[in-house]
Symmetry: D2
């Protein structure tokens, strides 16, 4: 079980809800993924205003835990304000701090992210900051009370997978709270790799919603996260430069 | 369905039977993997001699297709002789040509492998040659009648995964027979990656038998192959240098 | 010419002075490298106390610009104190901010590094902060007045080279001050690669002092930095998935 | 000194002569590279027919050793014929066997390359076969009398650099004749890396002729090969997962 603050999840896959071709495909992908946590941007959603069309209109919202993010916030103050807006709906006290520091790369602002994390923890939120793979910052976020840290594998939507597995390993090794790899996952192998490194979960969106067949990719990701987690628990073989026969022949003689 | 010669398999994972801690673990790993094809070295096995202890003693051999390999052969002549020895058991007409050309790296001999493939095809075997990732050789093996080609990801037992995805892609692209990635797979992510590149299957042994928990790793590999195959069919997103927001904000305004 | 604050350098290689087998080899390596900037830890050096043996005893100190670092500092306050200690010698107003946030990985503390940079800029130093490859932090360091930013390629002394070329490219692209890649360079190819990405310089120490033959490696690094810089200026060919003949044959016929 | 058959070269950079913007740039690039060996396709050159314009018209041909290649040959027979055509000019007895087995990837045909090598050795040529990085094939080429082996780093003209350093290392380790890395080099860092792995030389063409500034890139490559060779001789530091301080502080205390 993955525990984040007071929450517990069987699935270690968090799924974003943005940019699906349509709501039917969104619903089917969510179903197939067997995720328990749905993420979305507070700013673009209007689930909190019943008079507007619901971006999750096909989804039984009571079935999921919501992890709204603060995308659009440029600083801690704005992120806190957005988080409170989400909380006001009464539907969620968990929030993903997302404060972008560079419009081109969509990479996060370390200073404001740390500041917002401190404030939201103080406000009683369950706080999951999206961060770069800066190892020391991840430690500081945890010290600030973050309930999980969410280092990016590579830029949001880039599909480049895990560029720096060393930093992720360091973050995982030192962390006493869950590490959810967020952003940059492009394929099932990437998701499996994150889990093999010891990540506690994976958050992805574009890799599924942008696939040619989002529903099938959602299923692929479910299996990939499962495979990676089992692989981590099973303890992989070490990498060796030289070959090691899987069929040793010492002392074997067969009729000839 | 994976079709190799006249055979059809639902599972795309071929599993080796060597080097498990004991026969119970071997059996459980084979079960969990849900493989349909078991590979082993003819030379070290004595399933063909009922008076000797059976290396598959815990396994219901009627449940599986056997893919014996010719490990130990140094040239085509020897490989053919070993293949015939296996066929004489009446249990298998499928053979993995494995002719090692370098004791240190256990990398295959391209010349003798091609020669043995031709001869075994002429003898009526279903022939799956283990080969390097040499693209032109893979084409020649196919032209020689191989029913599948089995390029290595990296040296046998090295656990280094797919070192040259470009060559594998080229081999897959040009091949009209199945491509089964063989050797070097170290983790579930490696297996998933091979499948995402479009491989038709994966053969592995040490990655499972050498894991701390082979049974759990066998299960991990089952999911990984499934994840990679689904991911291939689903069509992954392209890799991009720059970030692409998964939560676009165009035209969005929320109460403030 | 590389310009950092009011300094100008022909050489783009900054060389550390620590951990050489002996002072003769240190001197020869420094000579061969043709560096103009020597770095060292203020805390372990006593060049500022003439009564103690000089760690640069073989080197004509007037020939070089000194870039002392604040290694050993755990926070901004301590870094500023160390920098002032170095400045008090009258030999240097340039300082590399090095505030380690993790003893195991020796990775830098982003918060304290930014704070120290601001303070040292205000004090009139020429400030070169050592930082992770966090893209937004690099921008903030520059906005804080840093005269160059020094992102690490990988952990200090690890010799792992450039793990995340994408982040380095982003840092270089957005930076209006020089980017000096610092830490993790293991070989000449790594140094060349950093320069090809557009870095303005490279700082290294262990790759030279820890080589079997530090003097020869110093020469290698000199050529590598030159090669990488020229390669950057020359504009490399794009990477392509498919081959492109260098000897096209269109319309060619020769006697046969 | 690099020794190939009876030849000796100070420079370890072999340079191709194709696809330069014009003959002046070609000449300047050749000069700057300080190469001693020029390669070209026999089929597209007419240096052997004085009545036609000379593709090397600006170059003092007596200053260089020629390494014509058999590009365009589809099999051993044709390669031998082309090699003899080149030899008939009286200018060269050295030949690069280049037999392409796949028009799309321009990867070499292992079977025909081995056959042509045997025949050309028997004819008294100094034979340098272009080959894939198949380790066992490289050994067979050497056993067949090749005076050097020329494994590709990646497809011709692709600029992808060294995709499989492990195979190159194996080839280098086992080889008693020089190993010249050929094809795929894209940048100075790639060339340096090949040399660091222990290659005896590098052959490139497109990386220089296709650069924005071929003359400057030729100079970059000269330094890169030098840097890589010196780095190889100097013995690089090992790669480590964890950081190692370059400025240890044990037992150090400074005035505070």
């Amino acid at each position: 079980m993955l525990k984040v603050g007071n929450y517990q999840f069987k699935s270690r896959l968090f799924l974003g809800t943005g940019k699906y071709p349509d709501f039917d495909i969104q619903k089917q992908a969510v179903d197939k993924s067997e995720t328990e946590v749905l993420t979305f941007s507070v700013r673009r959603m209007n689930i909190y205003d019943p008079s507007l069309p619901n971006f999750l209109e096909k989804i039984d919202v009571n079935q999921y835990t919501f992890l709204p993010n603060t995308a659009g916030a440029k600083d801690a103050k704005e992120a806190v304000r957005i988080a409170k807006l989400a909380a006001a709906s009464g539907r969620c006290d968990m929030v993903k701090v997302e404060i972008i520091g560079c419009d081109k790369t969509l990479l996060p602002d370390p200073i404001e992210t740390l500041k917002a994390t401190k404030e939201l923890v103080a406000e009683g939120f369950t706080v999951l900051p999206y961060t770069s793979d800066d190892v020391v910052l991840a430690k500081k976020l945890q010290e600030a009370g973050a309930h999980a840290v969410m280092p990016g594998a590579s830029p949001i939507g880039s599909g480049q997978g895990i560029i720096n597995p060393l930093n992720l390993s360091f973050i995982i090794e030192q962390s006493s709270v869950p590490v959810i790899v967020d952003a940059g996952i492009g394929s099932p192998a990437d998701a499996a790799y994150a889990m093999e490194l010891g990540a506690d979960g994976v958050l992805l969106n574009t890799a599924v919603s942008g696939a040619n067949d989002p529903v099938k990719m959602a299923e692929a990701m479910k299996y990939a996260v499962e495979a990676g987690r089992l692989g981590y628990e099973a303890g992989r073989i070490p990498k060796k430069d030289y070959a090691v026969a899987s069929s040793p022949e010492e002392g074997i003689s067969i009729g000839n």
